[in-house]
């Protein structure tokens, strides 16, 4: 960790402490818990975003729908009688397949294209996935069962945290650490970073840039699928496009906040964004904002971060 990142970490900790103190004083401690519990979903999606950005330099707008495909598959399998565990497996595989197809059909041909165009392409992929879901379900929602039935494993500040959520937070934490180490300590990880920065040189030393690209996209799709499969059942239902409408934009904000190039940053960013959402929706001072207060607050935070510290908390400056 270099100086910049160390500074970022300190800033992050400072913000966290200040936030918690303020919330305590305002008698809003439950917002912390609510924030962490919701934010972990954003963080997991953000992990996928950061992964793709580190390896392909792209903002992957389809990251949400990698999860969307997974959750639909989970529903379809489970409701036709397949045991839950197998359904989850099927869902993850479906997500990974979708990621694979996206990489092959859309991303590969656009290797040399401007990154903005690739962003547009991933948005197209997301739109297509959502349209298909809407058609498939006649735009109606569907129930989704949870993997872990116990809803009140622990209670913090009056907020019950279920097993499902604990799994989500746990998975996020473990993956953030594992992936972080992966990119800094393993050969494969370093190769991926190398390939994104110097594709020609990478090819010259005998590493197939194409294979790496496929690998990272499938991995990111797996992350997206995991996020959906663990987080969505907590809400008991899903509607077509929920992953993009409800999770993708907070996830992007989380990734920016934590640092688009930092996997641990995605974790931290996710939790922070969750807390920001929770506070913005419940704190008195924001309630006079016309419409949905949290939207405006998140916009200002995003703008603020990008102007003041564009690399986010833990990212590397460009």
């Amino acid at each position: 960790m270099n100086d910049q990142q160390r500074r970022g970490l300190v800033i992050g900790l400072a913000i966290a402490i200040v936030l918690i103190a303020v919330l305590w004083l305002m008698d809003q401690e439950q917002s912390i818990v609510i924030g962490i519990v919701s934010g972990s979903a954003y963080g997991l999606v953000a992990l996928g975003l950061v992964l793709i950005y580190k390896s392909s330099g792209v903002f992957n707008f389809a990251q949400g729908e990698f999860g969307g495909v997974a959750i639909c598959t989970l529903y379809l399998l489970h409701s036709s009688g397949v045991p839950y565990g197998l359904s989850v497996l099927g869902a993850l595989l479906a997500g990974m397949l979708f990621g694979f197809l996206t990489e092959r059909i859309v991303i590969r041909p656009l290797f040399e294209a401007p990154r903005v165009i690739v962003l547009v392409a991933t948005a197209g992929v997301a739109l297509l996935a959502i349209a298909l879901q809407q058609w498939l379900f006649d735009n109606q929602g569907r129930p989704i069962a949870r993997a872990f039935p116990q809803r009140d494993r622990i209670t913090i500040f009056g907020v019950q945290v279920s097993d499902q959520r604990l799994w989500l937070i746990g998975t996020l934490a473990v993956l953030a650490v594992v992936l972080g180490l992966f990119f800094t300590r393993t050969n494969l990880g370093l190769a991926i970073i190398g390939a994104s920065q110097e594709p020609t040189a990478t090819e010259l030393v005998g590493i197939s840039v194409r294979r790496l690209s496929t690998f990272t996209w499938v991995l990111a799709a797996l992350l997206g699928a995991l996020a959906a499969v663990i987080a969505v059942p907590e809400t008991g239902q899903f509607t077509p496009g929920v992953m993009t409408a409800g999770y993708l934009i907070p996830a992007f904000t989380a990734a920016v906040l934590g640092g688009m190039t930092s996997l641990p940053g995605a974790f931290v960013g996710g939790l922070l964004v969750g807390i920001i959402y929770a506070v913005a929706s419940s704190a008195e001072i924001f309630q006079d904002i016309p419409g949905t207060p949290s939207t405006l607050v998140v916009f200002l935070v995003l703008l603020g971060v990008l102007i003041v510290r564009p690399q986010g908390l833990l990212g590397k400056p460009a």
Partner: protein
Amino acid sequence: MKSVRLLPLLVPIALVAASCGQKAGVAGSESVDVPVAPAPETTAPAGTDAPGVTSAPGADTTAPPDTEAPAAGPFVPGDGDTDGVSDDEIVIGIHAPVTGASPIPQTSFDIGKDIYWQFLVESAPEQLFGRNVRVVFRDDTFNPQQAVQVCREMVEDEGAFMLVGGGGADQITACAQYASENGIPYLSAGVNEEGLADLESYFATTLTYSAQAPLLMAQLQERGITEFGLVVFDTPSFDEFVAAVGSAAEEAGLTIGYETRISKTAAEPEQLSVVQALKESGMEAVVLNTSPVVFIGLANQGLNQSYTPIWMGPGVTSGLNAVTNFGCPAVETGVFLSPTPNLDVIDSLDPDFKTAYAQFAPADAPADDIGLQLWSLNKAIGLMLEATGEDLGRAAFMNTLVTSEGFDNGIYAPVEFTVDDHFGGTGAHVLDADCTADPKQFKTVEQFVGAG
């Protein structure tokens, strides 16, 4: 352009509009007998003026309709008065959200809109004086701007005689404004009153949200609740509902223990925060006016927090079986008012419904509650058309509405309009979610609960 709002399913309004059929019980012709529960008096719904019947001279309401004399009344035929009416056909235009937020399942709607007319033409064609009814349907994408567009299209392109609003208070208000500017009769289920009360050609066939507030208080009292929470969408059209609940609570001697507005696009953190606050306030019942999706979200979060109050609310969509289909087990404690009862009791009120479906609907499309809403609506419209007589025109139709004693199709509470009061609902049914039933559904626990 079709905009695709994905998250919130605001189906309630859709169905509310669908249920805006008139209950036409004018005169003897095949009115269904009034069911056992106390039939509502001809008192107008809360907040409106004199009780129903202002029989204008010439409007015959008890004898079989005099098909020749046009009803006298304030409406004067203008240009295009008989647009959409020909010797063989009457065209009705319905708009509702299929894409966009709060969509209704299109297949149910598509089939359901025609069943009653198919049945009527076969069993009692003289009721419509030999005319057929053609229903044109357009997707308003849950968007008021688009709603006005499709309403115009249905009138100008398809030649609709009258318009019906399938869902969405905002869409209904927008289209009703257009309709009134052009003298086109517009019917919908009751939603809000503001913005609609002064519109000349707008008619609400069922109780508005505000009118249902006293009924909700009564339901709370029946369940021994004295203090309740209130959660309503943060949108201007629902402001009046909040006020109505406030005054109804006061009158009934109940207190609102916790009150908040929630965003239409409330994401998980917001829903969780609201649930937390409700839980901490200890409210045993919560009155809600949101969309089904947000309701299910709140109910689920509540379940996660071991908080399961009675969730109660007005309107239709939250009381649809779709909600039990995808909200159980969290919505088990849901109790909702609805203009129509649910399928469990319909055979005793109108046995024709299921037989008509069996006869006219495709085999893989069984009768469902959306179909019932549409059936009831269409049946009421049928009674109104019959009452207007063979000389059908827009002005004559609307005159009939305001001068008739009421329209009772046996499924809705009787619908009564006066010249000054176009909010015609007089009662509702109470539906209670039953997640243990198979299939999961809402059960009708009380029928024809009167207003006031």
